[in-house]
Symmetry: C2
Subunit: 200 residues, 2 copies
């Protein structure tokens, strides 16, 4: 079995959302698994002294247009959230907890969170919304509520973000496979070529 595709993302990243819609099918085409890694981009940007795209003059307006155009180009549902960017601690902690405690629900949860934020304009920075989305999938709401307040789960997210930075992650989506790194949804074509040919 080949090594998995490490897929680093923040639930508030539109381009990570686009990537989330394609990464599983892309992996299947090349007999790979996907390891989903939620991180906090805010912490990454703070460490590197960089900014989210939309906070940069000119680039911000352009990128909002680019997101919508990219979604249309790839036939992906997308509604610009009214609050953007937002804190994604609750969703990311829930994801890490599910991966350990209830792994069968981890992927559907990630997809439901992305969909809620980027197609239904649901504010996923609100823990109540995260809990409701989880409960709708059949996840134990009481156990997840406890997990979100658990210091060990908080630490796990901080550590996951640090480990991502140690591997060179500086934005999202960020994919690492077989030692090769790809930043951005617009590198998925090159990622696919690399998986197909073993080189690029």
């Amino acid at each position: 079995m080949s090594s998995p595709i490490d897929f680093y993302f923040d639930f508030a990243s539109p381009y990570a959302y686009f990537g989330s819609l394609e990464i599983e099918a892309l992996a299947r085409r090349h007999d790979r698994q996907v390891a989903w890694h939620p991180v906090l981009l805010g912490a990454v940007f703070k460490t590197l002294g960089t900014s989210p795209l939309t906070a940069i003059p000119k680039k911000g307006d352009y990128s909002l247009h680019d997101m919508q155009r990219t979604a249309r180009f790839h036939n992906m549902l997308f509604t610009p959230p009214s609050r953007f960017p937002i804190a994604t601690q609750a969703a990311a902690r829930a994801m890490l907890w599910l991966q350990q405690q209830d792994p069968v629900h981890a992927l559907p949860f990630a997809q439901a969170i992305f969909s809620a934020y980027f197609t239904e304009d649901i504010d996923i920075s609100e823990p109540d919304n995260v809990l409701r989305i989880a409960a709708d999938l059949g996840i134990d709401r009481a156990a997840l509520t406890a997990a979100l307040a658990d210091q060990a789960v908080k630490d796990r997210l901080r550590q996951a973000t640090e480990e991502a930075m140690e591997r060179g992650v500086f934005g999202a989506p960020f994919v690492i496979v077989d030692g090769e790194s790809f930043w951005g949804f617009d590198r998925f074509t090159q990622l696919e070529s690399f998986l197909k040919n073993g080189k690029i």
Copy 2:
């Protein structure tokens, strides 16, 4: 006749170089002309408070790798220049002067400058190198030497950079056509789709 494709670039931008290799063929496929607009990205970044990609921690190392990989992916010649980025005033001023005084040589000159810097590691920040490349194409060396020192030509480049910023240019390559803006060589696929379908 449809309106031209405005192609904004800095001679020191690797992704603009990649774009320069494809923009003319892309335009011809859709019966368009290309208007080549040299600008000084350094001045743009200074105004916006942003930085060149390679000056940003982590992103710098990644982008150097990404440039080489992108060149291989598209079968384009590319040798990372030993000095990067560099000042491109001389080449940009020469280009603007040629467009007015010797327009038949403007496009070959732009292509020769990009090629010298990105495939032969020739330091095009040196006016002597710019003059030699121009002379090899049959451009009047004495007239160009005078033009590079001409305040009117210097002013024209400053004005061209300001006009680009007024149109929203914040990086390179940057393409504007029929009111639609595309930033980055990796948006050429969407640009082509837009030219083909008149919408995106």
